[in-house]
Each structure stands twice: as C-alpha cells, then as structure tokens.
C-alpha cells in the first residue's frame, strides 16, 4: 500500500521537519492565535473575568499611584519648611539685623529674612482682618522674627532638628518654631499608607492568581474529552499546557488594559477637586496619571500574575485527567 511507503529521497527532504527553534516558534504562534480565537467563543464570560481581574489590579495600582505622588508632595513640603526664630522683646532693630546677617552666613542656612515686630503686626493686620482690634492695642504683642530657610532639609528631619537645637542655644533668641511634628506625622502617615497599600496589593495579587486558576480549571474541565484524546495520541504535557498558558496571558493583557482605563478615568475624575485643594495651599501640585513606566509595570504585573496563576493550576489539573 502506497500510504505506508517511505517517500523517495528528494520528496523526503522536502518534508523534513524544520529546525527545532523554528518549529517551536510556529507552534507557539499557532497556539497563540488559536487561544485568541477561542476567547471570542464566550466573550461575555471572559469579559466578566477580565473585569474582576482589572478591579483587583486597579485598586492597588491606584493606591500606589496616589502614594507615590503624596510622598513626592511630602518631600516638597519638607524641603520648603521654614524655621521661625522669635527674638526676645528687648532686642533692637540693629541687633536683630546683625543676628540675621550672622545666620545668613551659616552654611546650613540658605536664607534668613528679618521681620521686625512692626512689620509682623502690619502683615498680621492685613491678613487676619482683625485690623480694628489690633489698632486698639497699646503695645505690639508680636516679637521680631527671623524666617530661616534651612539648606539641607533634603537630608531629612534630623538635620533640621540639629539646626533648631543650635539656634535655641543662641542668647537673644526667645523661641524657635519648626513644623517638625507635623512633618513627622505626615511621614508616619505615609509609611502606614505604604504598608497598607503593599499588603492590599499582595492580597489582591493572590486574588488574581486564584481567579485565573479557577478560570483555567473550568476551561480544562470543559475540554476534558479533547485533553483525553490528545493524551491518547501522544500529546506531551507541554503541548497540553500551552493553550491554557496563552489563555492566561490574554486574560492578563485584557485585564491590564481595562485596569489602565479605570485608572486614567479615575485620575481625570479626581483631578479638579484635588487641583483646587492644592491651589488653596498655594501649591502647583497636580495629580498625574500613570506614566509610561507605570503603565508598563501594570501590564507586566498583570500578565505575569495571570500566566503564573494559569501555570500553577494547569499542571495539577492535567494530571487529574488520565485515559482509563
């Protein structure tokens, strides 16, 4: 029978298998296309899965986004923090200006500005709206002040604390005020938010793994007969695993896309009130959407988690299906 005969040499060479790498690439391409086409056989079910995954991704991503920008803002606030040095009431204008000059020449101070008691009162009158009451006072209750902008606040709160300590020990200085406590609290709040966000991200990543794993388990269940036949005609585990890993990859890709849209829409929605809040503090801070790098990370995390979730399930499930 001709069917079982070996082909002549020239014909055989034509049907020689291609190189292993080329073959693997072709097989992967085929499986990728096939599993892509399979997605659209049950679009609604897939869409629901992707939405679930997208929400699980968007939530920690949004918190991370807010957190990184809040940390940036915190740093800005930290850098622009001033130290107010209140001079004793018996210090004269000349003395005050002299001290201000001395302070300005310190390397750890960028700028020292002298505000006389009279100027302070005038400023206060103008900004407080309590002009009548203030005018009726016989004495000026306000001390002369030197506003100091420290040089190395970017080195952290410790440097500021050291400078403050030194200023307190100087003689005609009555009181030194710095917003250190507020900064400490902000930092602690940011640290707490950071840990909370990371914990939440970890839990939701676990959620993504479980959702993808469960979806793949159902897919395997619905293709049980096919898997049995493929095992009987000699399909390897790798061959059987591949379509489900690609299904995981597509799920990761689509859910990342949906999560990205959710994030960008969310940022656009939050932007106006946050902008007016920032403006009320004379800040030019703006809520930024996901950067290119952030978007890339979102897609990598989503696809990585989905493929991992699929691969964790698929091996175990495939072992359960054996021809009997």
């Amino acid at each position: 029978m001709a069917f079982f005969k070996r082909r002549p040499a020239h014909n055989a060479s034509r049907s020689q298998p291609e190189s292993p790498a080329k073959r693997l690439l072709r097989e992967h391409k085929d499986v990728a296309i096939n599993s892509w086409c399979r997605l659209w056989q049950s679009p609604l079910a897939n869409l629901l899965t992707w939405l679930t995954l997208a929400i699980a991704l968007a939530l920690p991503a949004a918190l991370l986004l807010l957190l990184s920008q809040a940390q940036h803002l915190g740093q800005q606030v930290n850098q622009s923090s001033h130290i107010s040095v209140f001079l004793a009431s018996d210090v004269s204008l000349e003395q005050g200006q002299l001290i201000t000059g001395q302070l300005s020449s310190r390397p750890d101070i960028i700028q020292a500005t002298y505000i006389s008691a009279e100027q302070a009162l005038a400023d206060f009158k103008a900004s407080s709206g309590l002009e009548d009451i203030l005018t009726s006072l016989t004495d000026n209750p306000l001390p002369a002040t030197i506003l100091i902008e420290p040089a190395n606040t970017s080195l952290g709160p410790k440097a500021v604390a050291k400078l403050t300590q030194q200023l307190r020990q100087q003689d005609p200085i009555d009181q030194v005020l710095v917003d250190m406590e507020w900064l400490d609290r902000l930092q602690a709040l940011l640290d707490t938010s950071e840990r909370f966000t990371y914990s939440l991200a970890l839990l939701l990543a676990l959620g993504v793994l479980l959702v993808v794993g469960n979806t793949v388990r159902l897919q395997i269940e619905s293709r049980k007969q096919e898997i049995l036949v493929i095992k009987l005609v000699g399909g390897t585990d790798a061959y059987l695993r591949r379509p489900f890993l690609y299904a995981g990859l597509w799920a990761g890709l689509f859910s990342a896309l949906i999560a990205w849209v959710i994030l960008q829409v969310g940022v656009a929605y939050l932007h106006p009130p946050l902008l007016s809040l920032a403006q009320s503090y004379q800040s030019d801070w703006q809520l930024q959407g996901l950067s290119w790098m952030g978007s890339f990370n979102l897609f990598v995390a989503s696809c990585g988690l989905s493929v991992l979730g699929a691969s964790l399930t698929v091996g175990r499930q495939l072992r359960l299906i054996e021809p009997k």
Binding site: F3, K231, V233, G234, K324
Partner: protein, 223 residues
C-alpha cells in the same frame, strides 16, 4: 514487536491478568479475543502505558516499558496507532482536524500535515468529507475516520479495541479488510474483538484470553 513476559495486573487485589507470555512478531497481525472482562482491554492498556503491570515485563518495539518514565509516555504513544470501539472523535473538530491531531502534536507544518491527512482520508475512502463535522457521519464512517487518525502518523504498530463493535457485518468486514491492507505493507496489527465469526474467516493468529490468562499458545483458527 510486542512481547509479554510473565505479565500480571491486579486491580484492588482482583486479578485482571495472570502471568501471561506472548510474542507478536514484527509485521504480524493477530486477534485478541475472550469474553467481556477477560482482560482484553487491560492488555491493550498495558501496551499503551495507560496502565502499568503489577508484575512481569512488557516490551514494545524492543523497549522495556517499565523503563519509561511518565515524561516518555507521549513519545511511546506516538509510535502506536490506536483505534477505539467508540472511535473517540472530537465532535467540535472537523474531520480533517481530527485526523490531523497526531501530526499537529508531532509538530508537522501545515503543508506536510495536509498532504498526509488527505492521503489517510483517501485510504479510508472519506476524502470528500474532510470539512464536515464527524457528528453528521454514519458510525461506519466515524470509525473509518478513527482509523485514518490512527494511521496518519504511519505507525509501526496499530492497536484496535473492538473496532467493529458497533458495526453491521458488512461494514465490519470492510474495516477488517482495511487492517489487513495495513498489515500487508508491514504494519504490526493487534485487534481485540469478540466477533468470532469474522475472526475465523480472516485466518490470523488468535490470542484467546480466559479470566486473565492466555489459554494455549497463539493459534490460527481455521474455518
């Protein structure tokens, strides 16, 4: 091609096969018969590595199957063409895709695979049905597609488990004739069947299983 040495298989302390020896030479065609539950399917499963023997040694194509790890099973199965009583076709695949499955698994490209699939379909006389779903075909046609799938890889060994179990005598004879044709070009064929009338007409060695034991040496049952 197939050698059983003292092969036994127990399921839950119940003997399915008891220390069997037989040897099927390369290029032979033989029938495996016996009442239901005699161990026919178990014997085929041991050759396909769907089961492992409890005792003894199964050697297929000079390879001791007990030496094969789980990972090596697929490669072993690709060497064997398997035909089932219930044909095990995938109804959501076309006829062409069903037959092409073993080639796809072996990594054939589309051109070579297409040529081989059509040759196999031509061999079983169903070349014009390649685009149809197996669901719309008769059971005889479905069985022939199952056979086309079993031979598409040009295996050296074909195993068939009750391939004519659901077919009328005329169709059964036709199917058996196909197996004889494969055997004539050197393929080793082992067919489990209890269709004694048909087996007697075909004059091939018969392995008779009785309660898990091969009763007597291989024999040719005369007419």
């Amino acid at each position: 091609m197939i050698r059983f040495e003292q092969v036994g298989k127990k399921y839950h302390e119940k003997n399915a096969l008891v220390s069997n020896n037989f040897h099927l030479q390369r290029g032979d065609m033989a029938f495996l018969t016996g009442h239901s539950g005699a161990g026919k399917s178990t014997l085929l499963k041991l050759i396909m590595l769907m089961e492992r023997p409890t005792s003894g040694k199964v050697i297929v194509d000079r390879e001791d199957l007990s030496q094969l790890s789980r990972k090596q099973i697929p490669a072993h199965r690709r060497k064997i063409g398997l035909v089932f009583q219930n044909h095990q076709l995938l109804m959501d695949y076309s006829v062409f895709d069903n037959v092409a499955l073993p080639l796809k698994i072996s990594g054939y490209n589309e051109r070579d695979s297409g040529r081989r699939v059509r040759a196999a379909l031509d061999k079983v006389g169903l070349l014009d049905k390649e685009k149809l779903s197996p669901q719309v075909l008769s059971s005889g046609e479905q069985q022939r597609i199952g056979i086309a799938r079993a031979i598409v890889n040009k295996p050296k060994l074909i195993l068939a488990d009750e391939p004519t179990g659901n077919l009328d005598p005329a169709l059964s004879a036709e199917i058996m004739h196909l197996f004889q044709q494969f055997n004539q070009v050197g393929v080793t064929v082992l067919i489990a069947s209890h269709d004694l009338a048909l087996i007697q007409r075909l004059q091939h060695p018969v392995i008779q299983l009785n309660q898990g034991r091969i009763s007597g040496p291989l024999s040719v049952m005369g007419p």
